[in-house]
């Protein structure tokens, strides 16, 4: 019988992961034992504390990561090589945690809706029944959302750090499952929200099925799920290449679904619209960051040697995403759907960056690598998105949040500040200079161009023109159109949402004016462990 080798567990490097997970479990315990009154505070404090602790952990780990043996990358392989804690992982961890903090703040917002959070009083109660009314009368709310979110964060951290297909799959699910639930918990427009959850769940499960089968095939091809081993197998070209090809395809279906790339974008608008706006904000930002981390790791580390079989596919998908996303976004009449489609377009832009050169040895001195570019873009996108959705949650009318664009007319007069901030976020997404979005676009385009993917870049430029049009359209509505009826009302947020928006805007501006530090940080993050 083969001797059992005890895997080493690098507790220090894993600290952030463990903290987040532990806090999530603690949250469940709190739910179980704390009296209902105390839960809200307890949960918020717990989650925030945990996230901050994890963030600190990330910084500490990042401060003294050693270069991995071959020297190109820095970091360690944890738990028998199943988790790679390298520069990019750490960067993404930090980013996800920061966004998650924003998410918690949004979740905890209670001022917008008359002293209750955005979540259903009792999800299990059928709207219109006594139980529902009772739940509302009792002023109940689901504080479970915080543990759920923490689990999602855990998944978001595990997903990009996973160094073998199985761990990646587990990460994928841990990230998705809580989000399925969260998107079904809206207090208002319950049915809409539940349908969003249903669609998200069914499609999500479907896609993860694809991912899994792809993993199985790759395993069948390489005889191992470890990325390094797969890379070896690809390089030595063992086994039947058809297995590899199909496997790669199926894997990318799963991943591209998560980032909402065309043709797997169908769920995006529905879920973004149906889910409670705080959830949408957190999900839109976090999922994309984590999933792109995973995509890069998979394609660069595991399938790097097979570049020529997947690159054309990514070319097409990138172009499609940009155009379909931008085009459909123009036809939208609902701000959340519009943002959803614009996120599809952004997926395309980020993919453009993924197409660039990643290994530093291929780069001219001082040229930025595509990992660097993508990480930077993710940062800019993440903060802009969470901020934008936070603003969306402020604009209301008698029926709660009003997301119909034409109802936003005259927002510029109703509340210049909110309108200005939102316009700023939109401009950032459009990539206007002096906003973070511009530098991000600049970075990804330049890496793609450097890698010779000029057709994609040209397409990207055209697509950004189309996209620019739709953002400007919204700005025009907010400022120059006459309000319909009594016009939109802006609910005054508590410090929580205000902070999130402020930070989002600040980061967007800072990264637009002085992107240097973050770019350098991303550069220091360096390469994946391969």
């Amino acid at each position: 019988m083969t001797e059992f080798v005890k895997p080493s567990v690098e507790y220090f490097e894993l600290w952030p992961l463990l903290v987040v997970f532990g806090v999530a479990c603690l949250g469940v315990v709190v739910e179980a034992f704390a009296p209902r009154g105390a839960r809200y505070v307890a949960q918020v404090v717990l989650s925030l504390g945990g996230l901050v602790a994890a963030l600190v952990g990330v910084v500490l780990v990042a401060r003294d990561v050693q270069t991995y043996d071959d020297g190109a990358a820095r970091g360690v392989l944890a738990i028998g090589g199943t988790i790679a804690i390298d520069g990019p992982s750490l960067f993404i961890w930090g980013l996800v945690l920061a966004l998650a903090i924003g998410g918690v703040l949004l979740f905890a917002e209670r001022h917008l809706d008359g002293g209750v959070s955005a979540f259903a009083g009792q999800a299990s109660a059928v709207p219109g029944t006594d139980a529902e009314t009772a739940a509302i009368a009792a002023n109940r709310e689901h504080t479970e959302v915080y543990p759920l979110m923490m689990f999602a964060v855990f998944g978001m951290m595990l997903f990009p750090a996973a160094n073998d297909l199985l761990t990646m799959f587990v990460g994928l699910e841990v990230l998705s499952l809580p989000l399925y639930l969260l998107s079904g918990l809206a207090r208002r427009r319950r049915l809409l929200s539940q349908e969003a959850a249903l669609k998200y769940f069914l499609l999500g499960a479907f896609s993860s099925g694809f991912f899994l089968y792809g993993a199985a095939l790759i395993y069948g091809y390489a005889g191992s799920m470890d990325f390094a081993a797969i890379n070896e197998a690809v390089r030595n070209d063992v086994g039947s290449s058809s297995l590899l090809l199909i496997g790669t395809g199926l894997l990318s279906v799963g991943l591209l679904f998560k980032v909402g790339a065309v043709p797997f974008q169908a769920w995006t608008p529905d879920v973004y619209q149906g889910a409670p706006t705080p959830v949408t904000a957190f999900m839109a930002a976090g999922t994309k960051v984590a999933a792109f981390g995973a995509i890069m790791r998979l394609f660069y580390v595991a399938l790097g040697a097979d570049r020529w079989s997947w690159q054309p596919m990514l070319w097409i998908i990138a172009v499609l995403s940009m155009f379909v996303g931008a085009a459909l976004a123009i036809t939208q009449s609902d701000i959340k759907r519009l943002l959803a489609y614009s996120s599809v377009a952004h997926t395309g832009f980020i993919l453009t960056g993924v197409l660039g050169l990643q290994a530093t040895d291929q780069l001219a001195l001082g040229e930025i690598s595509s990992v660097q570019a993508v990480l930077f873009y993710l940062t800019t996108y993440g903060f802009a998105t969470i901020g934008a959705f936070a603003v969306v949650s402020l604009v209301r009318d008698s029926g709660g949040e009003t997301t119909a664009i034409d109802r936003w007319a005259g927002l510029g007069k109703e509340s210049p500040v909110v309108a200005a901030v939102f316009a700023f976020f939109l401009l950032a997404m459009a990539g206007i200079p002096l906003t973070s979005g511009f530098v991000g676009k600049l970075a990804v385009f330049s890496v793609a161009l450097a890698a010779g993917a000029w057709p994609v870049v040209v397409a990207a430029v055209i697509a950004s023109i189309v996209a620019a049009f739709l953002y400007i359209r919204v700005i025009k509505v907010m400022y120059f159109d006459e309000p319909v009826g009594d016009g939109p009302r802006v609910a005054y947020p508590s410090v929580l949402t205000a902070t999130t928006i402020a930070v989002g805007a600040a980061v967007t501006l800072a990264l637009g004016v002085l992107p240097g530090p973050v770019l350098d940080l991303a550069a220091v993050a360096g390469e994946f462990i391969r």
Binding site: L365, G366, S446, A450, L519
Partner: protein, 494 residues
């Protein structure tokens, strides 16, 4: 120095935005005046020797090799001066109408105008391609809100159209900018500094691609024939003040950029592209003039005339002779002054008649001789009457055109005739003839308004007879540029 020049109006904008409404206009004007002073101060420190002066360079984005680098050569200086001079005038002109019904309020107008001034100053002084691009795009935001926020009904749509056109151009240019970056990265460390980029030798094919990117952007900016359509709508809907800022300052960025980047960085490609560009320029000249003739809306008409004028400028730039170059640059200044005058006067006129339709006016000169006089001068300037400054520049451009090819020259001459036609016909239709019955007689310009437009008039006449100082500043620039392009020199004409 230049940083101060840029920061002044920027700070002004912020302050103006936050001081109480009554004070806002004074504060804004104050800052504009301060900027004017600063600009003149800068001009005094500039010696006509040529080359980049008053330069300052700081690293901005290390990873991308971007620098915060400023500096002016003669061309830049003139543009800066033009800007700092025109802005206060515009502010004064917009003193009252900016708070008219349905507008964003005087405070916003002043703040945005100052912001715009700051951005354009940055554009004219930037010596780092990316920095240039950044501010180039950044000018759009204040411009957008100026157009959309002030003026006549339908301005929102016009503003959007404007922004889309500009952004489209900008993004195409972005592609080229990135292209430059990649090229420079491949040849060692990436950098966006003009000086570094000029040093590169780029293979012809790449050059042509990059050139296309830049040129399209600038062609949209300084409206040239196929991509001019935003101009007319904008000038028609926006307030005259805004139009002045747009046409007389912002659009100069287009021709400015052509000289700086197309000729400066991509000489071979520029020469390769000359035929096309010249043809386009001619088309814009004629087309602008012809369409202008048929117009009924005064502001729209003026907008279209400047289309034809920009045609002249581009023509002058792309015939690659010092005469042409000098003429073009001179033209940029003169056109700025003349058109500004025309817009403002037209603005006053519209304020009084309450309509911009030529058909709805008539016999103004009987009740408002002064106004009519200004209007006439402006019109004559537009059609290049000797003695007024545009004449000099136009003449030089046409000479250069003939040197280039007789056909080109003759077409250009034809344009002058048309220009005379539209200018005079417009004057005749609006000012002369019987005063309209039923409408209150148009009152004449008051002191303030005269005070506003008088300096422009003076400038027209002055530079008409004595363009020397300008030429001194211009010649070195032209010389350097043409040297870059590699065209045989034959000293500056006067």
């Amino acid at each position: 120095m230049l940083t101060v020049l840029i920061l002044l109006p920027l700070v002004g904008a912020v302050v103006t935005a936050f001081v109480p409404g009554a004070l806002a206009r004074l504060v804004g004007l104050g800052f504009a005046a301060a900027t004017l002073v600063a600009g003149i101060a800068a001009a005094t420190q500039y010696d006509a020797g040529g080359g980049m002066q008053l330069t300052e360079t700081h690293t901005w984005i290390e990873a991308l090799g971007v620098h915060y680098a400023l500096g002016v050569d003669g061309l830049g200086l003139l543009m800066v001066l033009l800007t700092v001079v025109l802005v206060p005038i515009v502010l004064l002109a917009g003193w009252r109408e900016s708070e008219a019904e349905g507008n964003g309020g005087a405070k916003a107008f002043f703040a945005w105008t100052l912001a715009l001034e700051a951005m354009s100053l940055a554009v004219f002084t930037a010596t780092d391609v990316l920095l240039f691009y950044v501010v180039f795009e950044a000018t759009l935001i204040p411009a957008y809100f100026l157009i959309g926020g002030f003026g006549r009904a339908g301005r929102g749509r016009a503003a959007t159209k404007f922004l889309i056109y500009q952004l489209a151009g900008g993004l195409v240019m972005l592609a080229s900018v990135i292209g430059l970056y990649v090229v420079s990265a491949n040849s060692g460390t990436p950098s966006f500094l003009l000086s570094d980029l000029a040093a590169l030798d780029i293979d012809p094919i790449t050059q042509r691609w990059l050139f296309a990117g830049f040129f399209i952007a600038f062609a949209i900016k300084a409206p040239m024939f196929p991509v001019h359509t935003w101009l007319a709508d904008t000038t028609e809907k926006a307030t005259p003040g805004t139009s002045v800022l747009l046409v007389c300052i912002l659009d100069k960025i287009g021709t400015f950029g052509m000289l700086r980047f197309c000729l400066g960085l991509l000489p071979d490609a520029s020469q390769w592209a000359t035929p096309v560009v010249v043809v386009l320029a001619l088309v814009s000249i004629i087309y602008g003039a012809l369409v202008a003739i048929g117009q009924d809306d005064v502001l729209r008409l003026i907008g279209l005339t400047s289309l034809s004028h920009f045609g002249f400028i581009v023509l002058g730039i792309f015939v690659f002779s010092s005469t042409g170059g000098t003429g073009a640059i001179l033209y940029m200044v003169n056109h700025g002054i003349a058109t500004a005058l025309m817009f403002l006067v037209a603005g006053f006129l519209i304020q009084r008649t309450g309509t911009a339709s030529i058909r709805a006016m008539g016999g103004v000169e009987k009740t408002a001789p002064v106004l009519a006089g200004f209007f006439l001068v402006a019109g004559l300037a537009a059609c290049g009457l000797p003695g007024l400054s545009p004449f000099v520049s136009e003449l030089m451009v046409i000479i250069a055109a003939f040197e280039h090819h007789w056909l080109v020259g003759s077409v250009a001459v034809l344009a002058i005739v048309l220009a005379a036609f539209y200018a005079l016909w417009m004057y005749q239709r609006t000012m002369t003839g019987p005063a309209l019955t039923g409408v209150a007689p148009v009152v004449d310009l008051d002191r303030r308004e005269v005070g506003i437009v008088a300096p422009l008039l003076l400038a027209l006449v002055l530079f008409g007879f004595y363009p020397m100082p300008l030429l001194d500043v211009i010649n070195p620039v032209v010389h350097d540029t043409l040297a870059g392009v590699g065209v045989a020199q034959e000293g500056g004409h006067q």
